[in-house]
C-alpha cells in the first residue's frame, strides 16, 4: 500500500514524513526544501496492518497545474503512480491558500485524507476552524495534527488506511487535468475554484485578527528584509556564526577531539612497534591515520557551524535572506529562485545544483547551476578553518569574507553570462511565502548536525582514506618504483605530477609541488586539500592540543608550508572558487543538459578562481611588502587573456547583426 504526502510548500510534509517513518530527511522552515520525492516505510508502531506501508513525500505544490516544474513532479506522481491514498497536508493557519490544491486532489478519484497541520498555532493566532463542517464540505476526513510533537499522527494514519478503498465525491468539479494545458480555460477554471474555496473558508474559519493588520512578525520583517539593512544584518549573522563555530566553541571542542585522535595515533604506533618496515609504518601512521585524522579533526567546528545554520533555517530567517538577495539577483538576470539553490549549496553543492531544476527559464537554470558552487560548501569549511586559524588571528572574519566573496563572484558571473548570452532583461517575479518566525528546535538542529557529521565521517573513511593512501604511496615511490630517499622528495611520483602545475601557480604565490598536489586532489573531494597537506608535510593535526585555541602552533605550520598570510589567502580563495568536486560537476552536467554550458562553466570557474587568487596575491604583496609578487607578468598575461576572452564573447556580433551586415 502506498500513501502519498502532498501539500503546499512549507506545510510540514517532510516533518510529518520524518515523524511517521523515522527518517531524518532535511527539513527547513521555508518553501522549496524538498525538490524531489522521498520514500520510506511507515513505523511499525503506527502501522496497524500486517503488510508494510510505503510513504512517499512529494515536493510542495500550490496546484496540480503542470506549468511549474516542482508542481509537475507531484502532478506526474499522483496521476501516473496512483497511490492508494493521499494525505493532503494543509497549513491550518493558511486555510484559504491551501484548499485550492486540496480541491484539485479530491478530483483525482484517489481517496484523500486532510491533515490540518500546525493546528497548535490556531489558538495563538486566534483562529477557529470548524473541523467537522470542513470535513463535511470537502467529503473527506479531516484530522488535526501537529507534526512537530506527533499529535494526531496515529489517527491520521488510521483514517488513511480506513479510507484507502472508499470512493469520495469531489466538492468542486473543474476541467480535467488534461485540459489544464489550455491556459485561458485553466485560468477561468482557477477563478471559479478560488471562489469556491473563498466561500468554503468563510463558512468554516473565524479569524479574530484580520490578515491585513500589521503583526510583530511584519515589524521584524521591515527591518530584517529591509533593502538597506538586510545585507549588513545578514553579514553580522554570518560573522556571529563563524565566531562561535571557529573562534569560540568550535576550537574548544576540536581541541579535545584532536586529543583523542592523537591517542589513537600513539596507540597504533605502540602496537606496530619498531620492527615493521618503514614504508608500511609510514603508510599506516602518516598516510591513513595522520591524513584522515587531520581532516576529521575539523569535525567539531563543522558540527557547530551546521548546528547554527540549522537553527537559523528553522527560525525562518533564511527565507528573509532569499528576499533580501532577490533584488540584486534580478538586476543581473538571475531568477529570484536562484537564491534557494545557493543557500542549499552552503551545505553541499550537489543538492544545491539539483535545486536549480525548479527554475523554469533554461538560461537562468544553467547560470544558477554554474554559479552555485561558488558558495562555500561544507567540504570547503575545513580549508577555511585551517587557513583562518593558522594564518589569521581573528578566524571569524575570514569565513564571513569568503561567503560574501562567493556572493560577489556569483553576481559578477551572472552579469557576465547575461552579457554573453545577450538575453534581454525581462521582468522577473519571485513569489516566496515567508514562513512564521519561530523558536528553532534544538532537537531538529541536532539531528541535522548529526546527519552531516555522519556524512563527513563516511566521506573521511572512504574517499579521503583512499586518496591519502594513494598520496602517501605516490610520495614514497619514484617512477622506477624505488623508495624515495631522504631529501629527494622532488623525484617522487607525486612531485613529478604536481610540479608542472606548480609553475602555473607561481604568480599566485604557491608555486610548490606540495600545495599544487593538495589543490589537485581537492577536485576529488575538497576535504582532500587538508588530508594531502597533512600527508605531504607530515603534519598529523592542525589543531594544537596543548593550548585551548585553534591558532596555537600556527607559526610552525605556516613555516613548514612556506606561505605568507597573503599567499595563504590566495591559496584559500583558489581552492574555494575553482571548479567544485567531480560529484558536483556531475550534478552540474545533469541539470545543465548541455555539454557546451558544462565546459563553459568549468572554464569560467577555473578562470575566475585563478584571477581572484592572482589579484589577492599580487595586490596583497604590493600592500604588505611594497612590491608585486613573483611571476606577476606571466600571471597578468593569463588573467588578461581570460578577461579578453570574456570581453570578446560579450562584444561578439549576434547572429542578427551578422545577418544585417551580410544583407548590406
Amino acid at each position: 500500500m502506498k500513501i502519498a504526502l502532498a501539500g503546499n510548500p512549507n506545510s510540514g510534509k517532510t516533518t510529518l514524513f520524518n515523524a511517521i517513518t523515522g527518517h531524518i530527511e532535511h527539513v527547513g522552515n521555508w518553501a522549496g526544501v524538498t525538490v524531489a520525492k522521498k520514500e520510506g516505510d511507515l513505523k511499525p508502531e503506527l502501522n496497524p496492518t500486517a503488510s508494510p506501508l510505503r510513504i512517499i513525500d512529494l515536493p510542495g505544490a500550490y496546484s496540480l497545474s503542470p506549468f511549474t516544474s516542482e508542481e509537475s513532479i507531484t502532478s506526474q506522481f499522483v496521476q501516473q503512480e496512483q497511490p492508494d491514498v493521499i494525505i493532503n497536508i494543509v497549513d491550518a493557519t493558511s486555510l484559504n491558500r491551501s484548499l485550492f490544491f486540496t480541491t484539485q486532489l479530491l478530483e483525482l478519484g484517489i481517496p484523500v485524507v486532510v491533515a490540518l497541520n500546525k493546528s497548535d498555532l490556531l489558538s495563538k493566532k486566534d483562529i477557529t476552524i470548524k473541523v467537522d463542517l470542513l470535513a463535511d464540505r470537502l467529503h473527506c476526513p479531516v484530522v488535526e495534527t501537529v507534526s512537530l510533537d506527533h499529535t494526531g499522527l496515529a489517527e491520521l494514519i488510521e483514517q488513511a488506511i480506513r479510507h484507502s478503498d472508499q470512493r469520495q465525491s469531489a466538492p468542486f468539479q473543474g476541467v480535467s487535468i488534461d485540459q489544464i494545458t489550455n491556459k485561458p480555460l485553466a485560468e477561468k477554471n482557477d477563478r471559479a475554484r478560488f471562489r469556491f474555496v473563498d466561500r468554503l473558508v468563510e463558512q468554516v474559519e473565524k479569524r479574530a485578527i484580520s490578515s491585513r493588520q500589521q503583526t510583530r512578525q511584519d515589524a521584524i520583517d521591515r527591518i530584517v528584509a529591509n533593502r538597506f539593512l538586510g545585507i549588513p544584518i545578514f553579514a553580522l549573522v554570518i560573522y556571529l556564526v563563524f565566531s562561535i563555530s571557529q573562534s569560540w566553541l568550535g576550537p574548544w571542542l576540536a581541541d579535545t577531539f584532536v586529543g583523542w585522535i592523537d591517542q589513537v595515533y600513539e596507540l597504533v604506533d605502540s602496537l606496530i612497534g619498531s620492527d615493521v618496515t618503514p614504508f608500511l609504518r609510514s603508510l599506516m601512521l602518516d598516510g591513513i591515520i595522520g591524513g584522515v585524522g587531520a581532516v576529521v579533526g575539523f569535525l567539531p567546528l563543522i558540527m557547530v557551524l551546521f548546528f547554527l545554520l540549522a537553527l537559523l533555517e528553522d527560525s525562518g530567517y533564511m527565507a528573509r535572506v532569499a528576499v533580501v538577495m532577490d533584488r540584486y539577483f534580478k538586476k543581473v538576470g538571475l531568477s529570484g529562485k536562484s537564491i534557494i539553490p545557493m543557500i542549499i549549496g552552503t551545505g553541499c553543492a550537489i543538492p544545491g545544483i539539483m535545486a536549480t531544476r525548479t527554475i523554469k527559464n533554461e538560461r537562468q537554470r544553467r547560470t544558477t547551476a554554474m554559479l552555485t558552487p561558488f558558495m562555500p560548501c561544507g567540504a570547503k569549511l575545513p580549508i577555511i578553518a585551517l587557513f583562518a586559524g593558522v594564518f589569521f588571528e581573528d578566524a571569524a572574519w575570514v569565513g564571513t569574507t569568503m561567503y560574501f566573496a562567493g556572493i560577489a563572484i556569483i553576481i559578477l558571473g551572472a552579469l557576465i553570462v547575461q552579457r554573453i548570452t545577450r538575453e534581454a532583461p525581462g521582468r522577473s517575479f519571485f513569489l516566496m511565502e515567508l514562513p512564521e518566525y519561530r523558536w528553532p528546535s534544538l532537537k531538529r538542529a541536532f539531528m541535522s548536525m548529526m546527519a552531516r557529521a555522519k556524512a563527513f565521517i563516511v566521506k573521511a573513511a572512504t574517499i579521503i582514506l583512499l586518496c591519502n593512501a594513494a598520496i602517501q604511496l605516490m610520495q614514497t615511490f619514484n617512477w622506477q618504483l624505488q623508495l624515495v630517499e631522504e631529501g629527494m622528495q622532488h623525484t617522487s611520483i607525486l612531485a613529478t605530477i604536481a610540479s608542472p602545475f606548480a609553475i602555473v601557480f607561481i604568480p599566485l604565490g604557491f608555486g610548490v609541488w606540495q600545495l599544487s598536489a593538495a589543490a589537485l586532489t581537492g577536485f576529488i573531494a575538497k576535504e582532500n586539500v587538508i588530508g594531502t597537506l597533512a600527508v605531504v608535510y607530515g603534519i598529523s593535526n592542525f589543531i594544537d592540543t596543548e593550548e585551548f585555541v585553534l591558532i596555537s602552533g600556527a607559526a610552525d605550520v605556516a613555516a613548514v608550508m612556506g606561505l605568507t598570510s597573503v599567499s595563504a589567502l590566495a591559496y584559500l580563495m583558489f581552492n574555494l572558487f575553482t571548479p567544485p568536486c567531480f560529484a558536483a560537476i556531475g550534478a552540474m552536467n545533469a541539470e545543465m543538459e548541455s555539454a557546451k554550458w558544462l565546459w563553459a562553466g568549468i572554464g569560467f570557474q577555473l578562470g575566475m578562481g585563478y584571477s581572484v587568487a592572482y589579484v589577492v596575491y599580487q595586490v596583497g604583496s604590493l600592500i604588505t611588502q611594497g612590491h608585486l609578487g613573483t611571476g606577476w607578468l606571466a600571471g597578468l598575461i593569463v588573467v588578461l587573456g581570460f578577461l579578453g576572452l570574456l570581453i570578446g564573447l560579450m562584444l561578439r556580433p549576434t547572429k542578427h547583426q551578422l545577418g544585417l551586415k551580410e544583407a548590406a
Binding site: H26, K37, I73, C348, P351, R365, K454, T462
Partner: protein
C-alpha cells in the same frame, strides 16, 4: 618482523577494500557522494559522473520546464 609486516599489510588491504566496497555499493544504490545526507533524495537525477544520462522518472522532464 615478517609476521608484523604481514598483519599490517592485511589490515591496510582490508581498510582499502572496505572503503572501495562502500563506494561501489553507494554508487550502485544511486548515492552520488559517499555519506551525503541528501544523496538518496532522487537517485536517478544527480549522478556522480557526467557521463551518466538523466532518467526521466525523477524530477521534471525537459519539456515540463
Amino acid at each position: 618482523m615478517m609476521l608484523t609486516n604481514i598483519i599490517l599489510s592485511l589490515i591496510l588491504i582490508a581498510m582499502v577494500v572496505l572503503a572501495i566496497r562502500k563506494l561501489i555499493r553507494d554508487k550502485q544504490s544511486g548515492v552520488p557522494c559517499a555519506g551525503c545526507p541528501q544523496a538518496k533524495q532522487c537517485p536517478s537525477q544527480a549522478k556522480a559522473s557526467p557521463f551518466i544520462t538523466v532518467k526521466p522518472d525523477c524530477g521534471p522532464s525537459r519539456q515540463d520546464r
